[in-house]
Symmetry: C2
Subunit: 503 residues, 2 copies
């Protein structure tokens, strides 16, 4: 009996390993598509990706999978990796099996249609064009929630897909707190007389030199080039194919070096996470970041707490000057620092700075929550959107292309995703607070340019576990508390008071 | 009944499409491994490739495949694509099923062990170290032949794997003819007083400039960059993932530009073949070159009949000078042409010129044929090898590393592969002869640098068919005759008499 259980466990792990192998192949095909695959091969490549993805989906919902779940669930003497893998597989299985097959197919078709309509609607700022698709997407997601069930709030079921354990109850509280504190700070800054000069940021900076500097920074961060590479794409990303192959991409703007430099640092933060997951998790679904939010905490930590920190530039400003062609010669490090930390309310989320960014997310959160609790209708979204932007950020979109239509997420049916971005900021600030206890010389570490202790701290406390620990479990284990917005608020007040010389 | 047959046909094609999709993913992973995949991810990547390859193997020998073969074989009203696909699948199925599973596994392990031992044996010129593995490989292949059966000559079964339809009877005749004619020509050349000067070939030629020139030449050939790309590797290759994605790689030697330029032209010839296969064959095993030999005819045609043709350089020599830094300034086009067509007996096959190359192949053919007809023993290979090199090429290896151990093929169990290379030369010369009837202005085409008519001729007569036609079928349809060594002999006599000013 025990012998046969051991055998089933082995077979289950082999089965899962095959699914992981297929996913790794798919991951490489996506990377290739986005970094230089020949255009004319893409139609066939998409078919290949589709066929292999279908096979993974089939395996995740097969009778064989059902049998493994039935036989292994509740068994003792299984390894921790098996238990957690089983848990992930069961979650997937339940989620996928509860939707009737015809509805799932209808939904996949709707998604792809909606994305293509959304592109046109955004380009022509025509919300009415997109509205029926968005209504249908919301309606189908509501039906899915009824199949899946929910606890407390219907929207929790969607949140759980991206940030397991995080609920409306928690988010209401932290987002309220953030909003109450950030809105007046943003207000104060926009009235400040001490705005930084930024014109020197936009001078010509050669692409190859930006790349060379970015590589230097990745190296300082402890990114392992034997387990990765840096390529160019339109939309930067990091992808962990396995811990020995985690690739970073970036984008170069020759009249704004910040795109590549902060973009690379951001993606580098994601990459460090994937490179340092315990090798014992390779070949299982646990071998990736535990959630969108924790992943984002790593990228944002490096982008903001490292890349936009004064001490980091004490080490690197002279180096940057060497790569640039004279653009910073007359600029003091203090002026440079203030310029790269400029904060200004804006319309577009992906262009927002770290202070205003959470407000963009809160707006989307409030809307999504309203939609799934029947408090907001899709037809009213443009009005609600614009009102909230005016209220929280003091700006108003001229048209829906710059407003409610700006993000692809809803067109893809990704409701519940947005909050992860803001969680990333809060997690990062909380982790930083705990890190300071172990690394009280944090500023010196940055000044010396040897960032390895930071990477090692994250590997020990976050990276290595992959999905073995849930996001809030990691947070609790490291910080001794749950989600707490105060750390982010303190950081933002402290930093921006100085940058804008507020009193 | 007819309805259900139609259905089975569709299901069979879907089944095959899935296998093709897996192979495309594997192809991309290999390309990636050889062009810059991070080292530390390779162990896991190999596992992924192994798992997906196993799945393809499983599918090719499954009960489902057996059922398709049984149900569809002999049926009328199937499309030509289905019929030929079925034929390919049946051939694979029979080949794989006739070997007992344990023996197959034993063989795979032996192969990989033998390759690794061979590397060491070659490095230390120690044939005795490699001998037991080679003996075992030959022995197992003999046993496989007994499982598979043979017609006429046991070695035919091995030849058929690489060049379907080509037999010992044919090869004996053409190789005898080639040997009788080439050996005295090589002899005459080595005694010639009119040897070309070549020292200017080995001056410094910047890598990036070599790349730029290579791209220009690919463009002239009609290589479609929207369906391909050029990368750098240690061992150049071309890979057709699908007709819209056919990639070329090359190698740069800054003190010998010929490596990159002729290498790119050679691989470009392979690539044109794969880019121009009919789109109706995508998703089937027919969507690739019909045989090793016909593939090689395309690469060798472009390398020698285009790239080493005087008219080609009439167009391109000035361009080459622009990319080079002064290296050819004092060199007339006539001297340049003679230099790149130098012929000299040498020990190493992959470094041989087009005149001596076939002799390297004939030696290997005679040895393989002897091995599988029990006329040669593995233990005598070094002696036999060296004797033949002295007899045909007038050179004698100092050690077995430069002799019998130089090629990886036997270590990988690829017996029957070598003849394809020489067939490529003969096919190319025969095709050229037929092409001249349609394109009598061939030399002018080269001089003008618009090589598209050549590509179009090949597409019409060779490329488009993929594996729909067998190699000798293509040869017959295009040239109206079977394999005929005379065209290659005429070409070599004509060309080398001029290059060496023989009388």
């Amino acid at each position: 009996m025990a012998e046969s259980l051991k055998q089933t466990e082995q077979q289950f792990l082999e089965y899962v390993k095959k699914m992981t192998a297929y996913n790794e192949a798919i991951g490489l095909m996506y990377w290739d598509m986005r970094t230089g695959a020949p255009k004319q091969g893409l139609e066939q490549r998409s078919e290949v990706i589709g066929m292999i993805s279908s096979e993974v989906f089939r395996m995740s919902t097969s009778e064989e999978m059902a049998a493994y779940i039935a036989e292994l669930s509740g068994q003792e003497n299984l390894s921790e990796v098996t238990l957690k893998t089983l848990e992930e597989c069961k979650k997937d299985y339940d989620r996928n099996k509860k939707i009737p097959a015809e509805e799932y197919t209808e939904y996949v078709i709707l998604q792809s249609k909606a994305e293509s309509i959304w592109e046109d609607a955004k380009a022509s700022s025509d919300f009415e064009m997109f509205r029926p698709y968005l209504e249908k997407l919301v309606e189908m997601n509501k039906r899915f929630i009824s199949y899946w069930g929910y606890e407390g709030n219907k929207y929790n079921t969607l949140l759980d897909m991206y940030e397991p354990g995080v609920t409306v109850e928690t988010l209401d509280q932290v987002f309220h707190q953030l909003r109450e504190k950030i809105v007046p700070l943003v207000q104060q800054i926009s009235e400040s007389q001490n705005k930084p000069g930024t014109s020197f940021l936009f001078k010509h900076f050669e692409k190859d030199k930006q790349r060379d500097f970015s590589l230097k920074v990745l190296e300082q961060m402890g990114y392992n080039f034997k387990a990765g590479r840096l390529d160019e794409t339109v939309h930067p990303f990091a992808t962990g194919l396995n811990p020995g192959d985690v690739r970073v991409t970036t984008k170069y703007d020759e009249t704004d070096f910040r795109t590549a430099v902060f973009g690379t640092i951001h993606e580098g933060g994601h990459a460090l996470y994937e490179q340092n997951i315990s090798s014992g998790l390779v070949g299982t679904p646990l071998c990736t970041g535990t959630s969108m939010g924790i992943h984002e905490s790593q990228s944002l930590f490096y982008e903001n707490f490292v890349g936009r920190h004064f001490s980091f530039w004490k080490k690197n400003y002279e180096l940057l000057k060497e790569y640039a062609s004279g653009q910073f010669n007359d600029v003091s490090i203090e002026d440079f620092y203030r310029a790269i930390n400029e904060s200004k309310p804006s319309l577009i989320r992906i262009e927002a700075d770290e202070l205003t960014y959470p407000l963009h997310i809160i707006i989307r959160y409030e809307i999504e929550k309203g939609l799934f609790n029947d408090e907001i209708n899709v037809k009213d979204l443009p009005t609600i959107w614009n009102e909230k932007y005016e209220q929280y950020l003091g700006v108003k979109p001229e048209d829906d292309g710059l407003g409610v239509l700006q993000d692809v997420h809803w067109a893809g049916g990704s409701f519940g995703y947005f909050p992860s971005y803001a969680l990333g900021y809060m997690y990062a600030a909380q982790l930083k607070n705990s890190m300071l206890k172990d690394l009280p010389n944090y500023d010196e570490i940055l000044e010396e340019g040897n960032l390895l202790p930071i990477k090692e701290w994250f590997t020990k406390n976050v990276h290595q576990f992959g999905k073995l620990k849930k996001p809030l479990e990691i947070l609790n284990d490291v910080t001794g508390e749950g989600l707490n917005a105060q750390h982010l608020i303190d950081y933002l007040y402290d930093k921006y008071s100085k940058v804008y010389q507020l009193n």
